[in-house]
């Protein structure tokens, strides 16, 4: 007998992450330049850190309300009212979570019955499919196309709809492609969701990181506020990944259901992170804007660089990723990533880690310094010369 046999079917059916291998190779090297990191290279702005330290000094070490401190929920509500004219009730429509990761898990578990299907445009963040499977749902991948700058359209989604389709899970600005959806694109998705009576889970963790355009919140589309579970957090905009703090916004029924799971599994998000999150919303904006303008310059640098190297790519307008097509090398995305790290010591993530439709692409994160981006581009140039198809 193998202990494997004792594992649940849902856990066994989740594929291991495609990223691990590159992590192991990179760990043995000294001079790796990493374009493989899915988090800001900034440390959390000092005032945010300082607020948490001060909170600890004053003895803020207890549990908080399951839904999060009223102070934080109020700041979140204010933020959405000001930024998107969206009005969420602090008592019934907001749940503070341990990062968007937890919020995503809660959302899927709250709405998906065993065997129900969730439409997931691909390429997408690695948790979407796995989270759906662990919630006993069935992830249905819908490929987005580079010709369309990896936006998704109702025409592409329609063929995948069945009587079992329960929800659609979107993440724009997108990890790994850097794609965004403009208002017109989102309105079409809203009409599609309405027509098929689908719940929309919208992961907007990169919402503050857009360039030359303003982020459109899906819940702000006509008639979408109650139908949408909106997920967001502090990790990317305020460089707070390790704090593990995020939130979900939605109608009182959805949020109550998610809170039920949350109170039995997590109880509450850490009070330290909640204190810091309040500070981020009150006084973090100028630091966030400074980081966004830094990302923007790096984005242009890497986009120009990859274009000059002859790799087919489109100009990403959100998050901090660029997703070039490397199929001209004749290598698969895994081969490309593996050879690149072994031969040139540049780490990035094969597009296939983000779903089948990511094949032939690699994800480069530009959340790293200009010097490193320039050096990585030099190394990639050298690599491409050695691997002419």
């Amino acid at each position: 007998m193998s202990w494997q046999d004792k594992l649940s079917d849902s856990v066994k059916s989740v594929a291991p992450s495609g990223i691990r291998k590159f992590f192991d190779i990179a760990a043995q090297m000294k001079d790796v330049i990493s374009l493989g990191v899915g988090e800001p290279d900034f440390v959390t702005p000092w005032p945010i850190r300082e607020s948490c330290v001060y909170g600890l000094e004053r003895g803020y070490t207890s549990y908080t309300a399951n839904r999060g401190t009223l102070e934080l929920r109020q700041e979140i509500a204010n933020h959405y009212a000001e930024q998107y004219d969206l009005h969420y009730d602090v008592n019934t429509e907001i749940l503070v979570t341990v990062g968007v990761s937890e919020a995503l898990d809660l959302a899927l578990r709250a709405v998906v019955n065993p065997g129900e299907e969730v439409l997931i445009p691909e390429p997408c963040y690695v948790s979407y499919q796995a989270g759906t499977i662990l919630a006993n749902g069935i992830p249905v991948s819908v490929p987005a196309k580079i010709e369309n700058e990896f936006r998704i359209t109702p025409e592409e989604l329609e063929p995948f709809v069945t009587p079992k389709t329960k929800a659609i899970l979107i993440g724009y600005p997108n990890n790994p492609t850097g794609a965004i959806m403009e208002r017109d694109d989102l309105i079409k998705i809203a009409e599609f969701a309405e027509a098929h009576d689908l719940v929309v889970i919208s992961d907007e963790i990169y919402g503050d990181l857009t360039y030359g355009t303003i982020h459109e919140c899906f819940a702000a589309m006509p008639k979408m506020k109650d139908r949408t579970i909106l997920l967001n957090g502090f990790s990317k905009a305020y460089a707070m990944t390790g704090w593990r703090i995020g939130y979900a916004l939605g109608n009182p029924d959805f949020i109550a259901a998610m809170t039920k799971i949350h109170q039995y599994t997590i109880l509450c998000a850490p009070i330290t992170a909640q204190i810091a999150a309040v500070e981020a919303l009150r006084r973090g904006e100028k630091y966030m804007k400074k980081m966004v303008s830094d990302y923007d310059r790096r984005r242009r640098l890497i986009h120009d660089g990859l274009k000059t190297l002859g790799l087919k790519t489109f100009e990403p307008r959100g998050a901090f990723y660029i997703f070039p097509d490397i199929s001209s090398t004749g290598l698969t995305s895994e081969q490309f990533a593996e050879k690149l790290i072994v031969e040139e010591h540049v780490a990035l993530v094969p597009g296939s880690a983000f779903g089948k439709s990511g094949a032939g692409h690699v994800r480069c994160s530009y959340a790293t310094s200009v010097d490193k981006i320039s050096e990585a581009l030099n190394r990639i140039e050298h690599f491409l010369k050695n691997h002419k198809a």
Partner: protein
């Protein structure tokens, strides 16, 4: 132009082509803008901020508060110029408050600086008083933390 200044202030080694990409301009435009900024003395120099102590050089820094008697017509400017022309003088500011000029001096030793203050600075006509303070440790200079132990602690590859 402001964006060029912000970028160069932080890293003057950025190449023209990097600047061109980052600011979505042609290299020609970038070079033209930089030439203008240099000509108008908006960009004054391209220095590096160096931790000399770490390199093994002995450097002693003194901050000196100076009181002056202002002179007719030129106020403090003429005396300030007599002071800032010395190579030993790194920084000169006119201040409000209890003293008039704040002067930062670098030398190789305490004696070096004491000599300079006694023999060159204090005798300048119009200086009524000097108070010297020796610097013990620099934590942050020109916006840069001298010994920053906040490293990049991220894992090499994350989703």
């Amino acid at each position: 132009m402001k964006e060029i200044l912000e970028l160069l202030e932080h890293n003057s080694r950025l190449t023209t082509s990097e600047l061109a990409s980052m600011l979505q301009k042609s290299e020609y435009e970038i070079e033209k803008d930089i030439a203008t900024l240099e000509r108008e003395k908006i960009i004054l120099s391209y220095g590096a901020l160096i931790n000399w102590e770490k390199f093994g050089e002995d450097v002693v820094t003194a901050v000196i508060e100076i009181n002056l008697t202002p002179q007719r017509e030129v106020g403090f400017d003429a005396i300030a110029e007599r002071i800032f022309r010395f190579d030993e003088v790194r920084t000169v500011y006119l201040m409000s408050g209890n003293f008039d000029l704040l002067v930062i001096i670098e030398g190789k030793s305490l004696k070096d600086i004491a000599n300079f203050v006694a023999k060159r600075l204090a005798p300048i006509e119009g200086i009524t008083q000097t108070r010297s303070h020796f610097m013990l440790k620099a934590y942050k200079k020109d916006g840069i933390i001298i010994e920053d132990n906040e490293k990049d602690r991220r894992l090499v590859v994350t989703p």
